[in-house]
Each structure stands twice: as structure tokens, then as C-alpha cells.
């Protein structure tokens, strides 16, 4: 008997792709067509929406802003989390368990709680509407996550590696950079993926901390929906373009996705 087990994931994937297809469909339609006749695919195929986004600096600027703060955040999160995760995976120290739990509680803090105080904090530091403000704010939830994932990977590296290196006369910084980091590149890749992901998809804080100069693409979209009338085609095209970087990143880490989810611990 032939097994029909594959049907469940297949149906689920179709369910996942339908709304994305609809967005794609809309992005190739003119506003008139969207509001006019209902059709399953564009009758009057147009690239005008995409052309507008790539030529209008308020649009493509939004992409560059988003990519900029996401990149800065990923670098800060991973760089800070590396030594910390090493400490948690190798040493006992005063208050280590409480510290770990405290870090995780920040992953549990609803961003809505921080929206207003963040605005005041970063305004007071004259960092409002800068990329670095968003990058720093996103550290709130990305650093705990990065420490958590990296600690899982590092615990899988035998301690003998460290000891051998010290016996061979390596200093700690040299060992860490020359030997340890290269052995956990897969873990660093997975961690960077998760940091990218959570920083890229977050909007509440990003929107609150920016107005013009560092405005993320997602916020540009929100304003279009409310002020510039109902330009659905343009909105759809911008939405499609926000999926692209994510899809790109997934493709690169596809072999590590399953592994990345299995490591880390409660």
C-alpha cells in the first residue's frame, strides 16, 4: 500500500503559500484592477509598483534603513553573546543560574511595555531616529536568545579542546579567536540567523524609535496605508520585497535549521 503521509505537509505548505501568492498577485496589478474586477492572476500585468519602490528614495531608503539596523544588531548581539555563552557553558560563578534566568526574562518582556520608556531613553541620549538606537533596543530580546543558542552549541564542544590549547601555551583571547570560534561556526551561523530574523520582523520598537532618517520599510508601509490613500498594489509590492531577504537567508542556512532548533536548552 502506498503511504499518503506526504499529504499533510503538502497541504500545510499550500496553506502557507496561498496568502503569499495573493500578495504577489496583487503586487503585479494596478490599483484600478485591484478595486475593479476580481481575478486569480493579474489581467493587466504591471511592474509599475516595483518601479516606484526602486526609484523613490522614501521607499528604497526604508529597505536600507531596515537592513542597516538589523545588520548592526546582529553583529552586536553575536559579539557580546559569544564570551557570555562561553562563560555559561564552561564555568560556575556566583549567581550564574539567576543571571541566566534574568536574561531570559527579557525575552519574555512584551515590547509594548517598553515602547514609551524606550522613546524617552533614546531621546534623552539624542539617539532618537538613528540606526544605532534600534539596533541597541533590539538587543533586549536578541542577546538573551543568542546567549541561549550559543550556550547549547558550546556545551557540545568537549572541554578537552580548551585544556589542550592552554597546555599548548595559548592565552585565552588567542585560543578563543583562533581555535574556539572556528569550531563553532555552524552555531554562530544559526545564532546570526535567529538574530536577523527577530530584528527583521520586529516593528513596534523600530517604529517608535524612528521618524525619518532611520525609518524601517515596514513603517513606511503602515503610513502608506493610512495617509497616501489606499495604494494596495504598492503596499503588496513592498510586502513582497520584505520577504526576499528572509527567503535569501533561509536558503543559506537550510542545512542548519533543524540543528539550530534542537540545540539550546530550557
Amino acid at each position: 500500500m502506498r503511504s499518503f503521509k506526504w499529504l499533510a505537509p503538502a497541504i500545510y505548505i499550500v496553506f502557507l503559500l496561498l496568502p503569499i501568492y495573493w500578495l504577489l498577485n496583487m503586487s503585479f496589478k494596478t490599483t484600478n484592477e485591484i478595486l475593479g474586477a476580481f481575478s486569480l492572476w493579474p489581467q493587466d500585468f504591471t511592474l509599475a509598483n516595483y518601479r516606484k519602490i526602486f526609484t523613490d528614495s522614501t521607499w528604497y531608503g526604508g529597505y536600507l534603513n531596515s537592513l542597516a539596523y538589523v545588520a548592526v544588531n546582529t553583529v552586536i548581539s553575536v559579539a557580546a553573546a559569544l564570551p557570555a555563552a562561553y562563560a555559561f557553558s564552561r564555568y560556575h560563578f556566583l549567581g550564574d543560574k539567576h543571571l541566566f534566568f534574568w536574561l531570559l526574562t527579557n525575552r519574555m518582556a512584551p515590547p509594548a511595555v517598553f515602547a514609551l520608556p524606550f522613546f524617552q531613553l533614546y531621546s534623552a541620549l539624542h539617539l532618537f531616529d538613528t540606526h544605532i538606537a534600534v539596533a541597541l533596543a533590539h538587543c533586549l530580546f536578541n542577546i538573551p536568545l543568542a546567549v541561549w543558542i550559543l550556550e547549547g552549541f558550546m556545551s557540545g564542544v568537549p572541554k578537552e579542546l580548551d585544556e589542550t590549547a592552554y597546555v599548548d601555551g595559548y592565552s585565552f583571547p588567542r585560543f578563543f579567536v583562533k581555535i574556539f570560534i572556528p569550531t563553532i561556526t555552524a552555531g554562530i551561523g544559526v545564532t546570526a540567523f535567529f538574530c536577523f530574523m527577530f530584528s527583521w520582523v520586529e516593528l513596534l520598537l523600530a517604529k517608535n524609535l524612528t521618524s525619518v532618517a532611520a525609518k524601517p520599510i515596514a513603517a513606511t508601509m503602515t503610513r502608506t496605508a493610512s495617509t497616501a490613500g489606499y495604494e494596495l498594489g504598492l503596499l503588496a509590492a513592498a510586502g513582497v520585497l520584505t520577504i526576499v531577504p528572509g527567503a535569501f537567508v533561509i536558503y543559506f542556512v537550510r542545512h542548519y535549521i533543524a540543528k539550530g532548533f534542537s540545540l539550546g536548552r530550557v
Binding site: 555559561f88 525575552r107 514609551l116 520608556p117 531613553l121 541597541l136 520584505t242 534542537s262
Partner: protein, 288 residues
């Protein structure tokens, strides 16, 4: 687990992380605590009000209503996403090109900005121009999520299932892949059926990742803001106004800083409490 040595200098290694997170967590938290005990009429003039705002929030109908909606929402999506995610993970191919295809496609919703998710579902479900809206209405079911509370709820839940079930799938899948072949072989030899294999091998081995899945889904669904805000704006009426939406409305919309701050802290403490209880129960179970 490897043996650890005690070394207080490890604090030097965690110092950058502590500094960064403390900067982001403690200073704003102090601001919130500060507001929650004071009254302001603008112009940076504050009066100490004690626990007044806490009392007001905890006794207000509005808070009760949004808290209740939040509980129901989180319960519903956990009840759907966890079993569904596990079922799909079980049915997925364990290796080969199709496994990669599944993983990549399933991870896609996780990387879409949350407001785009909301906007996408808005366009998808609109009764006049959306595929879903047209299809459901075409089947003779009255459906309009902008006006009908039931439609709005169903759409919000469907959107969350669409958005987050993949996370459960990926976690469960990772747990399943970590089970050595010998377990399946032994079960075959012992004559175990599919249900016994699931009950006695797969489920116990997935316990750890499922704990993470439930915890993450609980936390994230309890903080949900952007997607339903973009989709329904909390409406129609207040029917899809969850805790975060309510909070932002109060803090940024009405500038009721005191009550909003008190509400923030109550909200945060609830999430923390549930996670802590969950954490200790799981930990105790693991050590037993």
C-alpha cells in the same frame, strides 16, 4: 553535560551582555515603575499616587476584558498549533531533498515582518478583493472580518496559525531527527504499532523541544501586537483588542501614563509568573 569549574572571573565575560541588556531593561523598567506610582497633568509635573493606578487597572472592566480575550486567544492557538505542528513534523520526510524543501518553505512565514503578515492577511481575507474572503462568501457563509466579531476572531487565529505553526513544526522536527534509528528498530522488533511508537518513543523524546515550543508560543502569543493591530485594529469594537493593543492604546494613544505603566507591570508580572511556574515544574520533572 560537561563538568564545570568554578571561576568568578567568568563575570568579566558576561559583563558586556549584562551591560547591554541592563541598559535596555533596567532604565526603562525604572521609568515605568516610576510612572506607575504618579499622576501627571503634563509639563513634567508629577504627584505621588501610591497604588491607586494598580487598583484602578486591576478593578477595571476594560483590563478584565482584554485579559480575558488574551487568555482565550493564547489557549486557542496553543491548542491548535502544538498538535498540528507535531502532526506535520511526524509526517515530514526525515531526509533527502524533500526534507530541505519542506524546511525552507515552512520557515518562510517566520521571516516576514509582522506588520506585513497583518497586511498580507488583510488583503487575503477582505471580502471584496481577498481570495479567502471571496472563497468563504462564495460557499454561502457570511464572512467579513472588519464587521463581524466571529469572522474577525477566526481570521486572527488563522493568521497566527499560519504565522507560527512552522516554529512548532521545526522544533518538533529537530526533536524527531535526534532519535536514534535503534529505537525505531527495537520497536519494530517488539511488535509496537504506530501509536505505541508515538506514545512511548517519539513523544517522550520530543518532550524537551515541545517544552520550548509551548513556552515560546505562550510568551509570544501573550505579547502579540503588530499582526492583529494591522489586520483588525483591535476591532470590530474591542473584540480583538488583546493586552498589548490595549496597552499601547492607553500609553501612546491617550497618554494615560500612570495607568498604562501600572498595566505594563501587571502584564509583565503575569507573563513572568506563568513562565516561572512552567520553568520550575519542568525542571523538577527533569531532575526527578
Amino acid at each position: 553535560m560537561i563538568g564545570k569549574t568554578t571561576n568568578q572571573r567568568a563575570w568579566l565575560l558576561v559583563a558586556p551582555v549584562v551591560a547591554l541588556v541592563a541598559f535596555n531593561a533596567l532604565i526603562p523598567m525604572m521609568t515605568v515603575v516610576n510612572y506607575s506610582f504618579q499622576e501627571t497633568f503634563g509639563d513634567n509635573v508629577f504627584f505621588f499616587e501610591g497604588f491607586k493606578w494598580y487598583q484602578q487597572v486591576l478593578t477595571s472592566e476594560r483590563f478584565h476584558a482584554s485579559f480575558g480575550r488574551q487568555l482565550v486567544f493564547t489557549g486557542v492557538i496553543l491548542a491548535i498549533e502544538i498538535p498540528l505542528g507535531v502532526a506535520i513534523a511526524l509526517a515530514m520526510p526525515r531526509s533527502g531533498p524533500w526534507a530541505s524543501v519542506c524546511l525552507v518553505l515552512m520557515a518562510l512565514p517566520l521571516l516576514i515582518p509582522w506588520n506585513v503578515v497583518g497586511a498580507m492577511w488583510n488583503i487575503f481575507a477582505l471580502p471584496d478583493i481577498g481570495l479567502l474572503g471571496r472563497a468563504v462568501n462564495g460557499m454561502g457563509i457570511a464572512y467579513n472580518f472588519t464587521q463581524d466579531p466571529v469572522s474577525a476572531w477566526v481570521t486572527t487565529v488563522a493568521m497566527d496559525v499560519w504565522h507560527w505553526t512552522s516554529l512548532v513544526v521545526l522544533l518538533a522536527y529537530a526533536g524527531l531527527c535526534a532519535i536514534p534509528d535503534a529505537y525505531y528498530q527495537a520497536a519494530k522488533i517488539d511488535g509496537a504499532g504506530a501509536w505505541a511508537v508515538f506514545r512511548h518513543i517519539e513523544l517522550p523524546k520530543m518532550k524537551r523541544v515541545l517544552t520550548i515550543a509551548i513556552l515560546l508560543r505562550f510568551m509570544d502569543s501573550f505579547m502579540i501586537y503588530t499582526e492583529p493591530f494591522v489586520l483588525t485594529g483591535g476591532g470590530p469594537g474591542n473584540t480583538t483588542t488583546f493586552l498589548s493593543i490595549d496597552l499601547v492604546k492607553a500609553a501612546l494613544g491617550q497618554f494615560d501614563l500612570g495607568p498604562a505603566a501600572a498595566m505594563s507591570l501587571i502584564y509583565f508580572l503575569i507573563v513572568l509568573l506563568v513562565c516561572y511556574v512552567f520553568f520550575t515544574v519542568v525542571m523538577r520533572d527533569e531532575e526527578k
